[in-house]
Symmetry: C2
Subunit: 225 residues, 2 copies
């Protein structure tokens, strides 16, 4: 169960998620599985960049399944994978439910110099108001993505960067790939995937976010907590 | 001369500022004066958080004033102060000219544990979309400011925090000061000052920013670069 992006208010518990399982698993093992499951899911979503100070993810296990105990280490890999699948689904549902969201956007960074830089690149793109308003307008404005990468504080060489909107290459080695019309068609869809290939190393990170719409401003400027 | 916040597009030179003086001053001394002058001015403004990769501030001196040469060190203090005054005025004009801006907001952080944390606190508040939409709505929503402080990664104790909108105390030691109506009147003005007293140390930072309006979204979602 998860609730999320419609109540990002400071005096309320905001993003809340609860997992319930009848698996037989010790608290510590469950905790570790949960940490692994949230890393690329609940910790990889952004709606308005305002991290709440009250976010909570909890997992409960009552052991009533009757199955064998799930042991720590390799034995927990299958369970952790399933927990991760559910976490990913819930986390993405929170983004789709984001305030004023009209598009669901995946930012997929590949080839960064490190994992940390891949995450930083994804977060910088996803938190850019210029990028998010371009998504709202259905505008294949790759220049704003390049600019976000340029100020992200990561190692990069613009001449090596490839960018794809869906399957359409829009930037090849830092230059316009000449697919404006096809890219515009991709950007008008409800779900958009943006892939950036930095060609600097092996760092990868996926993150899910929304556009920035008139409705976001309306909701957050006119309601009084 | 400065131009700014209406052309934050990735393939254009964006924030540009030029200083011209007939003072007699060596290039190195002028460069140092300029660095000092931009620190609390051009480097303390935010409109939409999207730092351009093309911002430029240049100073030119032709020495035609006929006055004595302005020497490095203490001798340059007066000149640097004047340069700073002009820089502050220009920087604030850029913010007032910000895309879609309806309000000019000063964020004044005092009593942070360090200068660095004061700056971080100011930047976190000024880049919060929740805070900026509240400014647009003229909403004295101090909870959003507290939440931004809470996630800023600074040392703080909520029970010590005081917040003022203009001269009106809205938070006293972390709690509502009961001045809702007076605070709302302040927030409806074109220029709003927000002062945060953290009571943790001597770190101070001032920053100038705008609200986040419908027009910002309109401008940036509908124009095509």
């Amino acid at each position: 169960i998860a609730k999320g992006a419609g109540m990002i208010a400071p005096d309320m518990a905001t993003m809340l998620a609860f997992f319930f399982t009848d698996a037989r698993i010790k608290s510590k093992t469950l905790g570790r599985a949960l940490s692994e499951a949230v890393d690329g899911t609940f910790n990889s979503i952004m709606v308005d960049n305002d991290m709440s100070t009250n976010d909570t993810v909890l997992a409960f296990a009552n052991g009533l399944s009757g199955g064998a105990e799930i042991k720590a280490g390799r034995g927990a890999a299958g369970f952790t994978g399933l927990l991760r699948d559910v976490a990913l689904k819930l986390a993405q549902m929170i983004v789709k439910d984001g305030e004023g969201a009209t598009r669901f956007v995946e930012i997929d960074i590949r080839g960064a110099a490190s994992q940390k830089e891949a995450r930083l690149a994804a977060r910088t793109i996803a938190s850019s108001m210029l990028v998010k308003t371009a998504f709202f307008g259905g505008d294949p404005n790759w220049g704003r993505i390049m600019a976000a990468l340029g100020r992200a504080g990561i190692r990069m060489n613009p001449a090596r960067v490839d960018i794809f909107f869906g399957a359409v290459p829009v930037v090849r080695q830092g230059l316009d790939a000449g697919n404006e019309r096809r890219a515009a068609a991709v950007m008008k869809k409800k779900e958009v995937k943006v892939r950036v290939e930095l060609h600097m190393g092996r760092g990868v990170h996926k993150l899910w976010t929304t556009d920035l719409s008139h409705n976001y401003v309306k909701i957050n400027s006119s309601y009084r907590t």
